[in-house]
């Protein structure tokens, strides 16, 4: 069955016709969000990560019809000066880059929930993302730095308030 659903993708409202068994992964890629990538296809690698209403989801296991009305974030929709992306670039946390959108979004979810996250929390939250190039140490450095930057920004905001 085909239905029309509404997705709020990176702040933009999109009406999309979908079949019942269409995966969110394919729908988003069809809309041009090619930072959402297929790796394992079974929820285990994180390459297809998107945030739905702030929560990370493996779009390879998600039926699009379930996300009617949801606010979705894909890595390509993050602003140019996104703090997490900047720290990933500064730490040179990528080789081929295939896995990085997933790691960036997982970091966003973690820091939104817990800006005080340290290495242990970072490891626990990102452990289910796989990087075939093996840049894990640089990725962890990027997350630690992004967390610090978030804390400093919050502190400055409080000071100036």
């Amino acid at each position: 069955m085909s239905t029309e659903i509404t997705l709020l993708v990176n702040g933009e409202r999109r009406a999309v016709p979908v079949d019942d068994d269409d995966l969110l992964l394919d729908v988003l890629r069809g809309l041009g969000h090619t930072s959402v990538r297929e790796g394992c296809g079974v929820g285990a690698c994180g390459a297809c990560t998107v945030l739905a209403d702030g929560h990370s989801v493996s779009s390879c296991l998600a039926r699009a019809v379930r996300y009617d009305g949801a606010a979705l974030t894909t890595a390509d929709g993050l602003p140019a000066d996104d703090d997490v992306v900047e720290e990933f670039v500064a730490a040179r946390a990528m080789q081929c880059g295939y896995c990085i959108p997933g790691f960036v979004l997982m970091t966003h979810e973690l820091l939104a929930e817990n800006p005080d996250a340290g290495e242990a929390e970072i490891d626990a939250h990102l452990e289910g993302n796989i990087c075939r190039c093996g840049t894990y140490l640089e990725i962890r450095t990027a997350c630690v730095n992004a967390a610090r930057r978030r804390r400093e920004a919050a502190h400055t905001e409080k000071e100036s308030a």
């Binding site: 929820g43 990370s56 989801v57 998600a62 997982m106």
Partner: protein
């Protein structure tokens, strides 16, 4: 053949579909169903998506503990203050399933209904003596989690039945721990897991409750008593003796029988030692909740008889 997707908006419609279609399958979080579909091994004619049914995702306090509707996500069980307060062991174990993305999507009901012998949450639900609520067009019945896993990939969920909620008693005072060992990757399914709760059987005896995952064709529960004055080594020895006859591993890519048996002993020893050490010398006798608590009744009766 693709199965038809139904998205009913109330419980009655769900139960009618489960009773009235050829080969229905509930679609909860869908993390397991989608994989089976991709593998082409699903024979269902109709998928019944229960996400739009009101009330199924409620998580509430009850006089004796907490009640989680079937669609409460594993991640909510991991993070919600209510679960941390009433059953911290449960929150810990839910937090060790798969990865945050799967936990954000998977449901507590779908998790147990999946019936896999390696699932982590059953280990904690077993030691906490949770109860599963099953609804069908014929009415509602309750099954203790200790009777829920009936065979390899088989559960007590009957044809036409829907898991609607899990009732979990407040975690008794004492010590608790969870140990999960994986052989392929840190974040992989376990080859052995053990949830352990140490609590007071009476003034001089402690009960060690053990829930095992991945070590037999179903999740397994066993309890053993040890003198409160015993050492952690005594506790570990008693626990290992109790689980020994129950460990019956299935060999697969994650390891052979000997490997899994060995890791099973390590998981049990680690969790029992940690839980025993975590147990205060004097476990307060009164349960945390004063309100009536029918889940704890058999336990109280046991104590009075002694």
């Amino acid at each position: 053949m693709t199965a038809a997707l139904h998205r009913p908006r109330d419980l009655g419609a769900v139960l009618d579909l489960l009773a009235g279609t050829d080969d229905p399958m509930v679609f909860g979080g869908g993390t397991a169903v989608q994989i089976l579909l991709k593998q082409g091994v699903l024979a269902a004619t109709d998928l019944v998506d229960i996400a739009a049914v009101p009330g199924l995702a409620d998580l509430v306090a009850t006089p004796g503990g907490l009640r989680a509707g079937t669609m409460v996500t594993l991640r909510r069980m991991e993070t919600d203050p209510l679960v941390h307060d009433r059953a911290p062991l449960l929150a810990q174990v839910y937090g060790r399933v798969a990865n945050p993305r799967v936990r954000n999507t998977a449901s507590v009901g779908g998790n147990i209904a999946h019936g896999d012998y390696r699932l982590d949450p059953p280990t904690a639900l077993l030691v906490l003596d949770a109860r599963v609520e099953l609804s069908s067009a014929a009415g509602v019945r309750h099954v203790p989690i200790r009777e829920f896993f009936t065979g390899f990939q088989e559960t007590a969920v009957g044809r036409g039945e829907l898991v609607t909620a899990l009732d979990v008693p407040t975690q008794p005072r004492g010590g608790a721990a969870f140990s999960k060992l994986s052989s392929l990757a840190a974040n992989d399914w376990p080859v052995a897991s053990a949830a352990v709760l140490v609590t007071a059987a009476d003034d001089v005896t402690r009960e060690i409750r053990i829930g095992l995952g991945a070590l037999a064709p179903t999740p397994v529960y066993v309890a053993v008593t040890v003198a409160a004055t015993g050492s952690d080594d005594d506790a570990v020895d008693a626990a290992l003796a109790a689980v020994e006859p129950l460990i019956d591993p299935l060999p697969d890519v994650r390891g052979g029988v000997g490997h899994k048996r060995r890791l099973g002993r390590v998981a049990v020893a680690d969790a029992v030692r940690a839980a025993w050490t975590d147990t205060p010398r004097d476990i307060p006798r009164e349960p945390r909740e004063e309100a009536s608590d029918d889940h704890r009744l058999p336990f109280r009766r046991l104590r009075r008889r002694r």
